[in-house]
Amino acid sequence: MAEPLLALSGVSKAFGGLRAVQDVELALPAGTLAALIGPNGAGKTTLFALMSGFLRPDAGTIRFDGRDVTGRPAHLAARAGMTRTFQIVQPFAAQTVRENVAVGAHLHERRRSAALAAAERVAERVGLGPQLDKPAADLTVAGRKRLELARALATRPKLLLLDEVLAGLNPQEIAEMIPVVRGIADGGVTVLMIEHVMQAVMHLAEHVWVLAQGRLIAQGAPAQVTADPAVVEAYLGHGTAARLRGGAAATAPAAARTGPAGSEGDRAPVGPARGPGGAR
């Protein structure tokens, strides 16, 4: 079997006394569309930051595309083919959609005209075609999420790390976005997404990792993971799995997550204690 595209082994990161990510082992084969889920503050965004070089792990190694990339500066990640998006959208607000996406396209296109043309193609692909000449600051939340996706996609990544591209969208916008993400994966890009919208995770992901309080507590196919008592308890608190057993155990986490998904609670990359599992 070939080496996975992305492999983490023993990765840990602490902020002062707060162990945000602890001893994470993860192997993502090329060509998969996988998801990383977990309660608020579980360390998902921190894990993304570690993968993409925005943070340096305290321990462990990260291998990408056959190379050790532990602690490599962030801008080299995209050059090697791993591009992340941001949960809190980060547009170049003063610039138009076309110019925003062109910055990503410039990774492989030296010439301005070529980059602008590539930006146009990518923007069409994620449904931003009609808004190419709008300033990024004038976009709606849904538009900004698409922009975030388009700019990352324009770098022609091998691996795309999507940090909650569906958070803050209404059901109709989510329904429009799901095929876009599917299309990117079908185009040969390996995708790892952090997502709270379980409807999307169930629809899209082939494989799911569950992170709680900095540790991976479960992995597997979406249906299998949501039925796991450890996962249910991580979301809903100790003892819930037993209480729910016999009833709708398999659907409980899904129901629990669709509510808060729109509320955008998981802002900071730190703070695992906020997870409901930790409180009880």
């Binding site: 993409s52 980060q90 547009p91 003063a94 301005r112 700019r151 770098t155």
Partner: protein, 334 residues
């Protein structure tokens, strides 16, 4: 390319104006305006397009001025040979300061203060060491000929300044249409997002401060050729730093024509207040200051952004109402 056509028209118009009149006042005003536009455009490369607000651009100005004099007086070089050396020296100082400040991620007011401090350090050094002539300053001997870059009439200097300004404009036009420029503006607007798509902010900002320093050094060399004298206060004092950044901000940061417009308006304003209130010492500066405050308060995009500012003020309410009623998703967070 619209930018290039505009620059060509501008160059021809200014050159025509310089040849149309023999008025010393007019030629002198034109020269000083172009000189101010050069400094403003130099600042604009780093401040306007790179978002790194320097309060110490005199650092590069003074380096260019001193190297231009020293190369001629102590080195015995021709002025035309000294010029590229002066520009290169300023660019090198830019590289050194950029490497130190950007390496440690200094931004915003911290970057501004450090550049101010560097300029002060250079001012004190220029007073203290021998080869700058200390506090007395340095004279450039009068040897009037085009071969010595000392023109008999102001017209020669107008054309020289015009040449520098055109180079600065071309460089700015290049920033607007190149990968380097796109990356520089990306770093200005959001450094993390730029890093995520493979932009190295350190290298980009370093490139910008080198280009900005080089243009500012050309301004310093020009100053010395015109006035034939430099001392530490003129070279590294805050007045030049402020002149460069105020013209760029008033005219419009991060635009091609803003710094030129700002330099022209400020020059006209300074002349007008001096003529009107010259007999009451200080009043001209008060009026000048009040007008500056008004411009910065009411035209946040500068003079070249007047249209946009007015449109936003008039159309702002209408647009947000349209967005809410359109049903295409209301913004939920900031």
């Amino acid at each position: 390319m619209r930018d290039l056509a505009g620059i060509a028209v501008f160059a021809l118009a200014v050159a025509a104006a310089a040849f149309a009149s023999d008025s010393g006042v007019l030629l002198n005003g034109l020269m000083m305006t172009l000189y101010a536009a050069l400094l403003a455009q130099a600042w604009n490369v780093l401040g306007g397009y790179g978002g790194q607000f320097s309060f110490g651009h005199a650092l590069f100005f003074g380096t260019g001025a001193y190297v231009q004099v020293i190369a001629q007086v102590s080195g015995g070089l021709n002025a035309w040979v000294a010029l590229p050396i002066a520009v290169a020296a300023s660019a090198s100082v830019g590289a050194a300061v950029g490497a130190l400040t950007f390496r440690y991620g200094l931004k915003g007011s911290y970057f501004a203060l450090v550049t101010l401090a560097f300029a002060e350090v250079f001012r004190i050094l220029a007073v203290s060491v021998d080869f700058t002539g200390g506090g007395v300053g340095m004279m450039l001997p009068l040897r009037e000929s085009a071969a010595n870059l000392q023109f008999g009439s102001r017209r020669g200097f107008v054309l020289l300044a015009l040449g520098f300004v055109v180079v600065a404009l071309l460089l700015t036009a290049w920033l607007r249409s190149s990968r380097f420029g796109a990356r520089l503006q990306a770093v200005r607007d959001n450094e993390d997002a730029a890093r995520a798509v493979g932009v190295d902010p350190f290298g980009i900002k370093l490139g910008a401060i080198v280009l900005s320093g080089a243009l500012m050094g050309a301004g310093g060399a020009f100053y010395v050729q015109v006035f034939q004298y430099i001392d530490p206060g003129i070279a590294f004092g805050p007045a030049t730093s402020v002149e460069a950044l105020v013209a760029a901000i008033v005219g419009g940061m991060g635009t091609l024509w803003g710094p030129v417009l700002g330099a022209a308006v400020l020059h006209a304003l300074a002349e007008a207040t001096r003529n009107l209130f010259g007999q009451l010492p200080g009043l001209n500066m008060v009026v000048y200051g009040v007008v500056l405050v008004l411009i910065v308060t009411f035209l946040p995009r500068g003079l070249s952004g007047v249209g946009r500012s007015v449109r936003d003020a008039l159309g702002g309410g209408r647009r947000s109402a349209g967005g809410g009623g359109g049903g295409d998703g209301e913004p939920r967070d900031g």
